[in-house]
């Protein structure tokens, strides 16, 4: 029996070592590619391109779809901020998704809305019935009022029907865009007619200071739960997604901010309202359709920090979000299982999806069981400490290297944190994340895996929103009447 245990522990530890070596090895390659791409993007002369796009009458118009459910506190500011973006032709479509507060009334009072008989497109389908349609005289703002079915994707689909521009951009009502965000995100569409979707770098807005709808000061947030997410977003968005996009294997464009060709979205029927990972689902569906029809296509990623979004500021909210992401990933994998290891779907089918299946979805199982067996084996003497140290190196050591490299890339390329103190905190957070948070996170993800495998009902949580910190006296989030605590459904995503 002891002999069996020794053999078992020994081989499980080796499986763990090989598993994490491949996992971190692949990610380090993606990270390297991402770093090269970020470096290229940052150094590429873009100011002329952006001003050309802004000044030109041929620049494609953008319909910005903003689903809003009980957003009375921030909706007016959000629309004003969108109107102030530097872009020649924007049409804002706010979808009032069954709000029971003053969301619509605030919009009506502030933007002189009037009923409109605008003809909506017949597709995509959505469940919640559209009750009213309002618009400004100039037509730059349309408000679609609909019954809520408690699904963001349903609201976006309703908004898509009112979107009439070549490009559609979906954002959350509490996302804050950089002033040139739309110019950045449209540049790939202009430069390459085969581009069907573009994502941008999203950063946690917790800790940043906002003035008149623009980020003016970037500091590390005060809570560790928020700081940890800053590191995660750096690693996943800034480097990870840039890297995946550079090898033509991008699978996710975040729901918080992404742009697509309207026709491409409509061809796949809009967002899948049954999916917990509707944003990834949309990208995969568009890629699949283009590949199936052998059409040239590209899903691009702009390695510029263009969008700031508020992330959960309590462990409870974060756990709900991460469980849902994990479950959403499982559902997506099950839905698109025919694409996995299918050469017809290129890098997405042969590398990205298998990577997400093996390491992102099933990762928590390996993480929890493997770590337990290896640690117990080392303590009881079933395996040598040397072997345990090797397992520790490939799992924790390489992860730490990738986190620190992400921080280095941020610091070299963008250096958005103005104080040296913030950079030091960022470095410390990489260690805290790996040593403590990683275990907890793995446990939450494991719960998501369980829910996906056993088809448990979807769980949509709420995030306590603290609002953005406003610049100047009398605008602190605690005493600002415009930024009270609000609750809303969290944005779907499947991995940071």
């Amino acid at each position: 029996m002891i002999d069996f245990l020794m053999q078992f522990t020994f081989w499980v530890t080796w499986v763990l070592i090989v598993y994490y070596a491949i996992y971190n090895g692949v990610f380090l390659v993606v990270l390297l590619k991402g770093a090269l791409e970020v470096s290229r993007e940052v150094n590429w002369p873009s100011s002329m391109t952006l001003s050309e796009i802004f000044a030109n009458p041929l620049t494609p118009g953008i319909s910005i779809i903003v689903p809003a459910h009980n957003e009375e506190s921030g909706i007016v500011d959000a629309v004003l901020a969108l109107r102030n973006l530097r872009y020649p032709l924007t049409r804002i479509v706010v979808v009032d998704d069954g709000s029971t507060d003053e969301t619509f009334q605030r919009l009506k009072d502030n933007f002189d809305l009037r009923p409109t008989s605008k003809v909506l497109a017949a597709v995509p389908q959505h469940e919640g019935k559209i009750t009213e349609l309002w618009a400004t005289r100039s037509g730059d703002l349309t408000v679609v009022r609909k019954e809520s079915v408690r699904l963001r994707s349903d609201a976006v689909n309703a908004g898509l029907r009112a979107a009439d521009q070549e490009i559609v951009c979906m954002i959350d009502a509490d996302s804050l865009l950089e002033r040139d965000a739309l110019l950045h995100i449209v540049a790939p569409f202009v430069a390459d007619p085969t581009v069907l979707g573009v994502g941008g770098v999203i950063r946690p807005a917790n800790g940043v200071t906002v003035s008149r709808g623009a980020v003016t000061k970037v500091q590390m947030p005060k809570k560790w739960v928020e700081r940890i997410q800053v590191v995660e977003y750096l690693r996943a968005f800034l480097v990870g997604r840039t890297g995946w996009a550079s090898i033509k294997g991008l699978m996710i464009i975040s729901g918080a901010f992404g742009a697509f060709r309207r026709d491409a979205v409509l061809e796949v029927g809009g967002l899948d309202s049954t999916s917990l990972a509707e944003d990834a689902d949309l990208v995969v569906a568009i890629t699949k359709k283009a590949r199936d029809e052998k059409r040239p296509y590209r899903i691009a990623f702009v390695a510029e920090p263009v969008c700031w979004t508020e992330v959960p500021n309590t462990f409870s909210a974060l756990s709900t979000q991460r469980r849902r992401w994990s479950q959403g990933l499982g559902e997506l994998i099950a839905k698109q299982r025919k694409m996995i290891l299918n050469p017809r779907y290129g890098v997405l089918g042969m590398l990205t999806l298998p990577y997400f299946v093996l390491f992102e979805f099933y990762g928590p199982i390996f993480g929890v069981l493997g770590a337990f067996i290896a640690l117990a084996g080392a303590i009881t003497g079933l395996i040598t400490w040397q072997l345990f140290a090797l397992a520790f190196f490939v799992s924790v050591g390489l992860s730490l290297v990738s986190s620190l490299a992400s921080v280095l890339i941020e610091e070299s390329a963008y250096h958005r944190y103005s104080r040296l103190r913030d950079v030091v905190v960022l470095l410390m957070t990489t260690i805290v994340e790996l040593m403590g948070f990683h275990l907890v996170h793995t446990w939450w993800r494991l719960q998501g895996v369980y829910r996906a495998l056993f088809k448990r009902p979807s769980e949509w949580g709420t995030i306590e929103r603290a609002g953005f910190e406003q610049e100047g006296p009398g605008h602190a989030p605690d005493d600002s009447p415009d930024q009270p605590q609000l609750q809303r459904e969290t944005t779907a995503d499947i991995a940071p």
Binding site: I2, M6, Q7, F10, T13, R40, N43, W44, P45, M48, T49, E52, I53, A55, N56, P57, L58, T59, V190, A191, D192, P193, T380, G381, L382, I383, T384, Q386, L387, A389, L390, F392, F393, G397, L398, L400, V401, L404, A405, V407, L408, E411, S412, H415, L420, V423, V424, L427
Partner: protein, 287 residues
């Protein structure tokens, strides 16, 4: 005590060595992050001071005078500042600044870098060269055929921004062929270059390639080139639907009743063409 299996019997100490290496790499990365911040802040501060020091010399250059002799690094900073300023001003001021840059041989280094094997280097050189691009149209024309799409697109933007109407035919021909430039970027560049006559389109309005011809006719209409009327009307007889539709759109934009006869003569080949043509005929007739 349970006997352990010797895990790595052939490479003793490997795990410990790897752990130590990782720790060292992590420490180094952290150190580089902090050092990068400190060094960059110091360099930016120094560059800012240098720019403040040389900024008054710009007025001297604009006045047509020669600035005082400066140390090498200050001279380089002044060149960069003048290049930045030249792209933001127009008329005599711009001319004075670009002439000074040429006198400083500013273009030589950038022309050399525009032949670099690295696309990023070529793009950056092209961007820096932009303020004096109008003095070297052949170099920009060569960059329109660069092997990297983004560099070609950037060259098109430079051509448009510098008002290089002479490059319009070359720009339009880049719609098709081996080293193409996206049509939207070409259109932006041509509109920005703003040629004042159809003659500056060269033979692209009669090009055998229907995409080139269609784009040329479309842009002639967008630029309201009245002297393009006959070339546009000739497009109505093209076997290509793209060219015919471009001609119809341009006639609509020009709004000249003189084109009515040509429109009425046109043999439409699809319901869509017929519809658009009749709309334009109606508009021109009603006035």
């Amino acid at each position: 005590m349970i006997p352990s299996i010797p895990a790595i019997p052939t490479i003793p100490g490997l795990a410990m060595a790897l752990l130590l290496t990782t720790a060292t790499v992590c420490g180094l990365l952290a150190l580089i992050v902090v050092a990068e911040r400190i060094i960059r802040t110091a360099l930016a501060h120094r560059e800012e001071k240098r720019r403040d020091r040389v900024r008054p010399h710009i007025l001297t250059i604009v006045d047509g005078d020669t600035p005082a002799t400066l140390p090498r690094r200050d001279r380089a900073a002044l060149s960069r500042l003048v290049a930045d300023t030249a792209s933001q001003v127009r008329g005599e001021d711009r001319e004075a600044l670009t002439q000074w840059l040429i006198g400083q041989q500013f273009h030589r280094a950038h022309l050399r870098r525009m032949k670099s094997p690295f696309a990023l280097t070529r793009a950056r050189a092209l961007d820096r060269f932009a303020p004096i691009a109008e003095h070297a149209p052949r170099s920009i024309e060569r960059m329109l055929g660069d092997r990297d799409l983004r560099v070609r697109s950037l060259a098109a933007q430079v051509a448009g921004r510098s008002g290089m109407a002479a490059l319009v035919p070359e720009l339009l021909r880049r719609t098709e062929g081996t080293r193409v430039i996206p049509a939207r970027i070409i259109s932006m560049a041509v509109l920005r270059a703003a040629p004042s006559s159809i003659a500056e389109f060269g033979d692209t309005v009669t090009d055998s390639n229907h995409r080139v011809r269609a784009l040329a006719l479309d842009l002639a209409g967008q630029l309201n080139l009245v002297d393009a009327r006959r070339a546009i009307e000739a497009g109505l007889d093209s076997p290509s639907a793209d060219v015919r539709m471009a001609s119809v759109r341009s006639i609509q934009r020009l709004g000249s009743p003189l084109s009515l006869a040509a429109l009425k003569r046109m043999e439409t080949q699809s319901p869509e063409e017929l519809f658009h043509t009749e709309v334009v005929i109606h508009e021109l007739t009603v006035g």
